[in-house]
């Protein structure tokens, strides 16, 4: 962990404070673009749920809300450990920071593992959209094609979310390795933490929309 006065100042900046606040602003702008990116998906979801409420509820009930809830708890905890890592970085205690970063990575991997099992179950039940999709409706209002649309959106939304988590986990590994080589700045930890919280908040919206619709 670098101490305050040895933070590497890039040539385009006048001082460390300017560099820090600029980098934080850059991260916030990036998160705005992420919100807009997912916005298109949420709009698509809302429209089709509005058009096919019964099918979406029936499709949603095929998801395991228990595993989803466990994953929500895991991810929320990982946001806590990420926040504690940022706190440790601000206090310049490199060891504590690496511990919390490691904990965040473990929780992130746990989330992805559970998600992987869920995907596997969906695969076995023939819920992967495309040629192999099999679904027999129990009520007349439920159309297999609309259920397939739900699962298409489910896999895109959770898939893109999982991709963001993988990026975050890789970023945490880079932070740890940078910290061991003593080339890490506090701002980098903060920015990565912001990103991780964003991925977490995204899940807060995905979870009820996808898992809980069928359980009212």
């Amino acid at each position: 962990m670098q101490t305050e006065h040895t933070d590497i100042l890039e040539v385009q900046f006048e001082d460390v404070e300017q560099q820090r606040s600029t980098s934080a602003l850059g991260m916030w702008i990036f998160l705005c673009t992420e919100i807009m990116f997912f916005g298109g998906l949420f709009l698509a979801y809302c429209e089709y749920r509005h058009l096919h409420p019964e099918s979406f509820a029936a499709a949603s009930s095929r998801l395991d809300w228990m595993l989803g809830s466990i994953n929500t708890a895991i991810l929320l905890t990982s946001s806590l450990t990420a926040a504690l890592a940022v706190r440790a970085a601000t206090l310049r205690s490199a060891g504590t920071m690496r511990f919390f970063l490691g904990a965040t990575i473990v929780l992130g991997v746990a989330f992805l593992t559970i998600k992987g099992f869920e995907y596997h179950t969906d695969y076995q039940e023939g819920l992967i959209p495309g040629a192999s999709f099999t679904y027999s409706a129990s009520q007349p209002a439920v159309q297999p094609r609309e259920v397939e649309m739900f699962f298409m959106l489910y896999f895109i939304m959770t898939g893109v979310h999982a991709f963001h988590m993988i990026v975050g986990i890789v970023a945490f590994f880079i932070l740890i390795s940078k910290s061991l080589r003593n080339t890490l700045t506090v701002q980098t930890v903060e920015n990565t933490g912001l990103y991780w919280h964003f991925v977490d908040v995204l899940w807060i919206f995905l979870f009820p929309l996808l898992y809980l619709v069928g359980h009212h």
Partner: protein
């Protein structure tokens, strides 16, 4: 009295220019791995020029085809591919990056007194991302082409087209990220890296325009990325997202697409407005009339631009009430646009005007943009739009905005800042000639298209009834003149690099921090960070401009 004349000492130009960003390393590596915003601007300039001429060549080909009512050259499929490649290349690979990625990259740090953009590595990455997207789309065009039109409308693009839609859409998806990175960089830079004393209302109007443009890039482009991703997924997996036969909604595609692509029009035009706001005061030797109104109008256009996309869908089957609201909001955007036009013309009033090349382009911009804007109001009227939608009227309208507006602004910017970027002066004679040729060629190409559209000729057809031939021949003749007009600057600007005379730091006697540096600027831009103590555009304190 007889004064013996002493022979003046022979003054030669120094053989080597003082250290600047151009002679700071000559290797390929020093260009391809540069983090200098000025060099990245040059990389962008070379690339977008290439794409501009590819897109232009496609346009010339299909204009020649349209010389005869039955079509002179191509089969219908090839014709469709030509206009698609023209649209895709011009919109995504020329117009959107043009002024922001070239002039914005070069000027934003110089105008605000910074050493570079906030994130130089992201800036270089944006160029590579752009080139990757461009290469992929270029591949799609060569390996079979695409025939969907630049709008990629579903379900044709996802279910029926047998062409390279995936490759082209992926190219557009990738290139979008270069826009996002550029916009992000500009916003962070303008917020955080202004020189001491450079308050928001002391910023050059070009910076205000770049800021507004960046907001659109950052908020709009991600939506396009998601839209083309969904398009690709539907095309690959044949699961209904947009295809009504599979339970999807094609209107959702149009909503998502135009949510980006309408604001994208403002990505193209706002930077040109910024350029004109710089050129007019300089060549009228006056402060811009209503500085704050011009600045705020840029912001207003960026904001309002996000709420008018539905006017592309008046005949799509969207709700009637939606149409009424979108029509009303579209009229609203005309207000800040008109504010700008009034302010520019008021700036000209009682100015000491000189008509050098950049000024010719700026004046051309005002006229042609006004034309394009007013016909836009016709199209915003629900009743009128129903008659001219999908005709050449709309083709003429948006070319008045995109060529008459955006390209004129780009060329004006290139000529205005060429002495700063290269340290050389281009030939004013050829500059004026080609500006005139472009103006004439442009109007001859596109004015007949207003009439064609009004008479009912639909766009995107490879053949037409014989009574439309005269106007089509006029349009093709105009396109040839326009093509020549675009080639001329390429020649004399390149010529000036070697043979043009040296420009000096402030060739136009213009205000603005970029003119306080040497030409071309040194790699670090400023020897010491400048301090700003006064309002911009203090032309009353500047001597008259360069008068040759």
């Amino acid at each position: 009295m007889n004064v013996s004349t002493q022979p003046l000492p022979v003054v030669t130009e120094p053989r080597h220019a003082p250290p600047n960003y151009l002679n700071d390393g000559y290797s390929v590596r020093s260009w391809l791995l540069t983090l200098d915003h000025k060099r990245i601007a040059i990389l962008y300039m070379i690339s977008i020029t290439l794409f501009f001429f590819i897109g232009g060549a496609a346009a010339v080909l299909f204009r020649v085809h349209l010389l005869t009512p039955t079509g002179a050259l191509f089969d219908p499929g090839t014709y469709n591919k030509l206009f698609t490649i023209h649209g895709v290349v011009m919109v995504f690979f020329f117009l959107i990056p043009s002024i922001p990625a070239v002039m914005g990259n070069f000027l934003v740090p110089l105008m605000i007194g910074a050493k570079d953009l906030a994130f130089p590595r992201l800036n270089l990455a944006s160029w590579y991302v752009y080139m990757a997207g461009g290469t992929l789309t270029g591949y799609a065009a060569i390996a079979g082409g695409i025939d969907t039109g630049w709008t990629f409308y579903t379900p044709y693009s996802t279910m029926f087209s047998n062409t390279n839609v995936i490759a082209a859409a992926t190219g557009v998806f990738i290139t979008g990220f270069s826009s996002i990175l550029t916009g992000l960089n500009f916003i962070a830079t303008i917020h955080k890296m202004r020189a001491p004393g450079l308050t928001w209302f002391r910023l050059p109007l070009f910076i205000w325009a770049m800021y507004a443009t960046s907001v659109i890039m950052v908020l709009g482009t991600p939506v396009l990325a998601m839209t083309v991703s969904l398009l690709g997924i539907e095309r690959i997996f044949h699961v209904g997202i947009f295809d009504p036969a599979l339970g999807g909604d094609p209107l959702l595609f149009q909503h998502l697409f135009w949510f980006y692509s309408h604001p994208a029009v403002y990505i193209m035009i706002l930077p040109s407005m910024g350029v004109v706001s710089e050129i007019i005061p300089c060549f009228a030797r006056k402060r811009p009339f209503g500085y704050k109104f011009i600045a705020m109008a840029s912001v207003a256009i960026a904001m309002l631009g996000f709420f008018v996309w539905g006017h592309h869908m008046f005949v799509s089957g969207q709700s009637m009430y939606g149409g009424v609201v979108f029509s009303f909001l579209s009229f609203f955007v005309a207000i800040p646009s008109a504010v700008k036009v009034f302010n520019w013309t008021a700036t000209l009033h009682k100015g000491s005007i000189s008509l050098q090349t950049p000024m010719l382009y700026a004046l051309g911009f005002i006229g042609l943009f006004t034309f394009g804007g007013l016909t836009g109001l016709f199209l915003a009227c629900l009743g009128v739009d129903i008659h001219v939608t999908g005709t050449y009227f709309i083709v003429a309208h948006f070319h008045y905005i995109m060529v008459g507006g955006a390209v004129m602004g780009y060329l004006g910017a290139i000529h205005f800042w060429w002495p700063k970027m290269t340290g050389r002066v281009y030939s004013e004679f050829w500059g004026r000639i080609s500006a005139a040729i472009i103006f004439v060629g442009f109007n001859l190409t596109f004015f007949p298209q207003f009439i064609l559209g009004y008479l009912g000729m639909p766009r995107r057809y490879y053949a037409y009834p014989p009574e439309f031939q005269v106007l089509n021949v006029m349009s093709t003749a105009g396109a040839s003149i326009l093509g020549l007009g675009f080639l001329l600057p390429l020649i004399y600007l390149l010529w000036s690099l070697k043979y043009g005379k040296r420009a000096g730091p402030n060739y136009w006697k213009a205000t603005g921090l970029e003119w306080t540096t040497q030409s071309p600027p040194e790699t670090e831009n400023f020897e010491t960070t400048p301090e700003v103590v006064s309002e911009p555009y203090a032309y009353e304190f500047m001597e008259l401009g360069n008068a040759d």
